[in-house]
């Protein structure tokens, strides 16, 4: 209360056109940081309500213009398979929405139907089929259509693979790797009807009107050729045909385009009091990820400083030791360190853009429903 009064007196002396009333420091801390105490974090609920600080005369509402001004993205690492970037100025609910969409709602291609001709291996049919479904395919799902129950499998919605491996009698056992899956760009080679039927053209399980080689420039093979599918002993063989379709992670995890995607909030480590001498040495040794470092003072003394707060994993070793009361671990509420690991169908930056597009589509669908 005395703080509020002091601010009011200051306001009256200030220039009349100063409009922004600031929150007192402790409330600003509560609003922007999650405090991680030794036993549990506090202030985990964000204050999103526009009128949260109305009694103090501070406006907590946020318009799209303010969001645009404050929003920043900084990319730390970007390779073909994974990326790490910082998203600053966004709320946890939206960061989480992106994470959920990346895992469950960005479509991919994966093997769905298996036509088993011959399986004399020790791996059961269904176990083998399950393993084949989990193999990541190097196909861009944006160029394919979904296939529903009534659709005919054609070159726009299905990719066909063949696996025909056998181990001769008398030889060593062999390992069937995913690289032995052969892409069939002309479609299925298995005939549906019995050979006794007349007519030159046999009906196969797919109706490709043109070869997929003409539509897609690069071969639609598997992404990693060294995944073990099965092991065959002498005299055993596997002959099958696999059809891959487009789907989303919500239906089955094989259709998830990310190995995983996660985010963490930016850590902030604050030393409330100077830690010097032997305590400083001990503190530096305690931290397993080397967040602290020693700074030499002029007269031979040593002081602990926070060198790499970003590496903090919240193991809380530093707050459990005797000097722990002088250290405060915090998380910045609107700064997220996002990591996306792709399984290979699409590069990670494309995956994130697709996820944002999907959130927009969801909103537009609800808007259309409301209108």
């Amino acid at each position: 209360m005395p703080k509020k009064g002091a601010k009011k007196a200051k306001e009256m002396d200030d220039v009349p056109d100063q409009q922004e009333k600031k929150l007192p420091d402790y409330l600003e801390l509560q609003r922007t940081r999650v405090a991680c105490k030794a036993d549990a974090p506090i202030h985990t609920q964000g204050f999103q309500y526009s009128g949260a600080y109305a009694a103090m005369g501070v406006d907590n509402s946020m318009s799209v213009e303010k969001f645009r001004k404050n929003f920043k993205i900084e990319i730390n690492r970007l390779t073909e398979d994974d990326m790490e970037f910082d998203m600053i100025g966004v709320d946890a609910s939206i960061a989480n929405a992106f994470r959920r969409i990346l895992i469950a709602e960005v479509p991919t291609m994966a093997i769905e139907k298996i036509f088993m001709v011959d399986n004399t291996s020790v791996i059961a049919d269904e176990v083998l089929s399950h393993r084949l479904g989990l193999i990541p395919l190097d196909a861009d799902p944006r160029r394919f259509d979904y296939m529903s129950e009534n659709d005919v499998p054609n070159e726009r919605n299905t990719i066909v693979y063949k696996l025909h491996v056998s181990c001769e009698k008398g030889s060593q056992r062999i390992t069937v790797k995913s690289g032995e899956l052969e892409w069939l760009p002309e479609g299925s080679q298995l005939n549906m009807s019995s050979p006794a039927q007349s007519g030159d053209k046999q009906k196969t399980f797919t109706s490709f009107s043109q070869s997929q080689k003409e539509i897609y420039e690069k071969p639609l093979g598997v992404k990693f050729k060294d995944i073990t599918i099965a092991r065959l002993g002498p005299g055993q063989a596997i002959e099958l045909e696999a059809h891959a379709v487009k789907g989303v992670g919500k239906a089955h995890a094989k259709w998830s385009p990310v190995a995983t995607a996660w985010y963490r909030m930016l850590p902030e480590v604050v030393l409330l009091k100077e830690i010097e001498g032997d305590d400083a040495e001990e503190l530096v040794k305690k931290c397993p990820v080397k967040v602290f470092d020693i700074e030499d003072l002029g007269n031979g003394g040593k002081r602990a400083v926070v060198a790499k707060p970003r590496a903090c994993t919240l193991c809380r070793e530093c707050v459990m030791c005797p000097t722990g009361e002088h250290i405060e671990l915090r998380r910045v509420r609107d700064h997220f360190i996002f990591t996306i690991e792709s399984t290979g169908a699409m590069p990670p930056e494309v995956l994130f853009t697709e996820a944002v597009k999907i959130l927009e589509e969801k909103c537009e669908r609800v808007i259309a429903e409301l209108s």
Binding site: Q48, Y49, S50, G51, D59, S61, M62, S63, V64, F67, R68, F71, K72, I73, E74, I75, L78, F85, M87, V90, D91, S93, I94, N96, A97, R100, I101, E105, E349, F352, T353, V356, K357, L359, E360, K362, C363, E364, V366, I367, E369, L370, S371
Partner: protein
């Protein structure tokens, strides 16, 4: 689907199918930021059903319009996120390329 009273359009519950926490939590956040909203929240009546109920109570404006505005704000925010992200990726790639060129220069 809107469940509200004909007389009072400022408070109603919207039942959306085929949606879950992904959209509902984001919309709830954007709604909270709007100064016209007195109360907003969402709930999932049963986890097995794919439905979510979003409750909006406003200070006078029809709840449906406020929800539509919030959804449109979310769309604009997403577009901005996408644009910023693409620029950041291009900037990062250009920087890396420039760095590699500098290293080549130094090696020469």
């Amino acid at each position: 689907m809107e469940h509200g009273s004909v007389a009072d359009a400022s408070a109603s519950t919207f039942s959306i199918v085929e949606e879950d926490h992904t959209l509902a939590n984001s919309v709830r956040f954007v709604l909270n930021q709007d100064p016209r909203v007195a109360f907003c929240g969402y709930s999932i009546p049963h986890p097995a059903d794919n439905k979510v109920n979003i409750r909006v109570q406003t200070t006078g404006d029809p709840a449906r319009d406020v929800l539509k505005d919030a959804l449109q704000n979310l769309v604009v925010m997403c577009q901005h996120v996408r644009g910023t992200f693409d620029n950041a990726v291009d900037g990062y790639r250009a920087n890396k390329h420039a760095e590699e060129m500098d290293v080549d220069e130094q090696q020469k």
